[in-house]
């Protein structure tokens, strides 16, 4: 009897310890996340001036207005390049390639390796290949192409996962009705995989917004509203970096404000994306 009670209480101690560990971990995570968030927002608000956000850039007023535009353009163009290629590639890998295809194994290996390479390496490659060899220089185009290549492996992998998770019975149903592979893929498989693909796209947007190393080498750091694809500019993240590096105390304020704006932009984007995601999913299911 006594032994049993002891065992019981030992178990109890263990479970209480585990449970408190869980709470501690959760608490630490929440505190640090909220801490960072509120620290940046607080400092951002302190530095807030309308002219710093929407005003024209000058050394007296290092406004981020141009950079907001550049960031949006970069996101759109990069996704426009990366997403279709990734989707087609993933569809090929999962639906078309034979299982024992050596070529496919090479592509897999390549995408997996590329996914683990630091972005600055892509930046270096982009600067040399697109910037110098192709002659695009520091420009939106060079930046987009470089970041697009960087994103390919990630979107391909996630799209592949999404496509693979579409139940085979949908495919069978479609083929059984005499549909071709192409129709099956585009009418049944991809729509069913859409939520997964969308979440890959959202993550990619986050990466484009957050990228600095690769962009400094390719998009460059010129503080101007880009007039065309071959102009250099800064995204918000690069603007933050340059401001902190070169701007002294005032620059740090600008950096905080930019950070706060970034947070708000990302928040809006995520809300928008999940709204669109919900809509797409519904359209298909209803």
């Amino acid at each position: 009897m006594i032994g049993q009670i002891k065992m019981f209480s030992m178990k109890n101690v263990a479970s209480v310890t585990l449970r408190s560990l869980v709470y501690v971990a959760m608490g630490l995570t929440a505190i640090s996340l909220l801490g960072i968030l509120s620290y940046i927002l607080f400092n951002g608000v302190k530095a807030f001036k309308w002219s710093l956000i929407f005003g024209k850039f000058s050394s007296a007023n290092p406004s981020m207005s141009f950079s907001i535009v550049t960031t949006c353009v970069m996101i759109l163009l990069t996704l426009l390049i990366a997403v279709p290629i990734s989707i087609f590639c993933a569809v090929y890998l999962t639906e078309y390639a034979k299982r024992k295809n050596i070529f496919v194994n090479w592509i897999r290996l390549a995408t997996e390796t590329l996914a683990g390479i630091p972005s600055i390496v892509f930046g270096l490659f982009g600067a040399i290949f697109f910037g110098t060899v192709m002659g695009f220089g520091y420009s939106i185009l060079t930046g987009c192409l470089t970041v697009a290549i960087m994103l390919l492996p990630v979107i391909i992998r996630q799209t592949e996962e999404a496509v693979k998770s579409v139940p085979d019975m949908y495919r069978e149903g479609s083929y059984g009705l005499g549909a071709s592979k192409l129709r099956t893929v585009f009418r049944i498989v991809l729509p069913s995989a859409m939520p997964g693909i969308l979440s890959a796209v959202i993550l990619s947007m986050g990466r484009i917004i957050g990228e600095t190393a690769a962009l400094i080498f390719t998009l460059g750091t010129v503080a101007q509203l880009p007039g065309g694809l071959l102009d250099s500019s800064r995204t918000l993240a690069v603007h933050m970096y340059i401001s902190t590096r070169d701007g002294g105390a005032a620059g740090r304020e600008v950096a905080f404000l930019t950070g706060a704006v970034l947070i708000v932009v990302i928040l809006c984007m995520n809300i928008g994306a999940s709204y669109i995601g919900g809509k797409v999913g519904k359209d298909f299911e209803n």
């Binding site: 299982r99 149903g173 083929y175 059984g176 009705l177 005499g178 549909a179 071709s180 298909f284 209803n286």
Partner: protein
């Protein structure tokens, strides 16, 4: 009462089928006659689904699958010049688990006709109604055409899948254990439906339910280890099987 023999629809001749080196079908011969229900029975893994899928070339999807012998449809070799899409348009299929697409009831039915080039809304509307009516599910679904097909019951989903197969106006319908995932009432509904469809279609059905085979089929093929042990009139197979193994199986002594 003597009837003229029904015309031949599908003939399987000396067919062997391999998954890599594993032989799943051994020297199979089978005639499927027009407007009859042919049932495949036999223990799990004996090759019923494999043969069924060969009849509309769904096995093409399996890379390791290799076939020798000959299958003809209306006298034409289905592995020859015949277009696969055309073959599957004529030989529809209903699967074991109801597999409506994740879209509306209407779009599910319209998927097949659209695949084969029908675009006009009016024509599609008519096909949808007709198919659902033929599958005896129009009354239950007519107010829910725009709702997701995943939101209806399993039994309704399966009849929807039958309606979807009917929508491309096939001549033959293959069904792989269509009622195994359903409750008895839904099962009865589908059996009644098949009995009705028999006049207009040729039906091949795989079933683990002896009673079902006996109730609805005209011919029965008993499979064992990839071979057809016995094939003949259902009445005869069930009342006086020629082979001891058939008898053991249908009386439930093994399998």
């Amino acid at each position: 009462m003597l009837k003229a023999p029904k015309p031949l629809k599908i003939r399987v001749e000396d067919m062997n089928l391999y998954y890599d080196s594993f032989q799943a079908l051994i020297n199979v011969n089978l005639d499927v006659l027009t407007n009859e229900i042919t049932a495949f029975i036999g223990p799990s893994g004996c090759g019923k689904s494999t043969l069924l899928k060969s009849l509309n070339r769904m096995n093409d999807l399996i890379e390791s699958c290799r076939i020798t012998g000959k299958i003809t449809y209306d006298g034409e070799d289905i592995y020859g010049k015949m277009n696969v899409s055309e073959l599957r348009k004529r030989v529809g299929m209903v699967f074991q688990k109801p597999n409506p697409f994740p879209m509306s009831v209407y779009d599910n039915i319209a998927y097949g006709p659209r695949t084969h080039g029908i675009k006009k809304k009016k024509v599609l509307d008519q096909i949808v109604e007709e198919s659902l009516q033929n599958a005896a599910i129009w009354d239950e679904l007519k107010d829910r055409l725009k709702k997701s097909a995943l939101a209806i019951s399993g039994g309704q989903q399966q009849r929807l899948c039958i309606a979807r197969a009917l929508a491309i106006k096939p001549e033959v319908i293959l069904l792989d254990e269509p009622t195994s995932a359903l409750d008895p009432i839904s099962t009865t509904k589908i059996e009644d439906l098949l009995a009705e469809l028999k006049d207009r279609y040729t039906i091949v059905i795989v079933t683990h339910n002896m009673g079902q085979a006996a109730r609805i089929s005209d011919k029965t093929a008993f499979f064992l280890h990839g071979e057809i042990v016995e094939f003949g009139r259902t009445m005869e197979i069930f009342s006086k099987p020629k082979d001891k193994k058939t008898e053991d199986y249908i009386t439930g002594r093994f399998g």
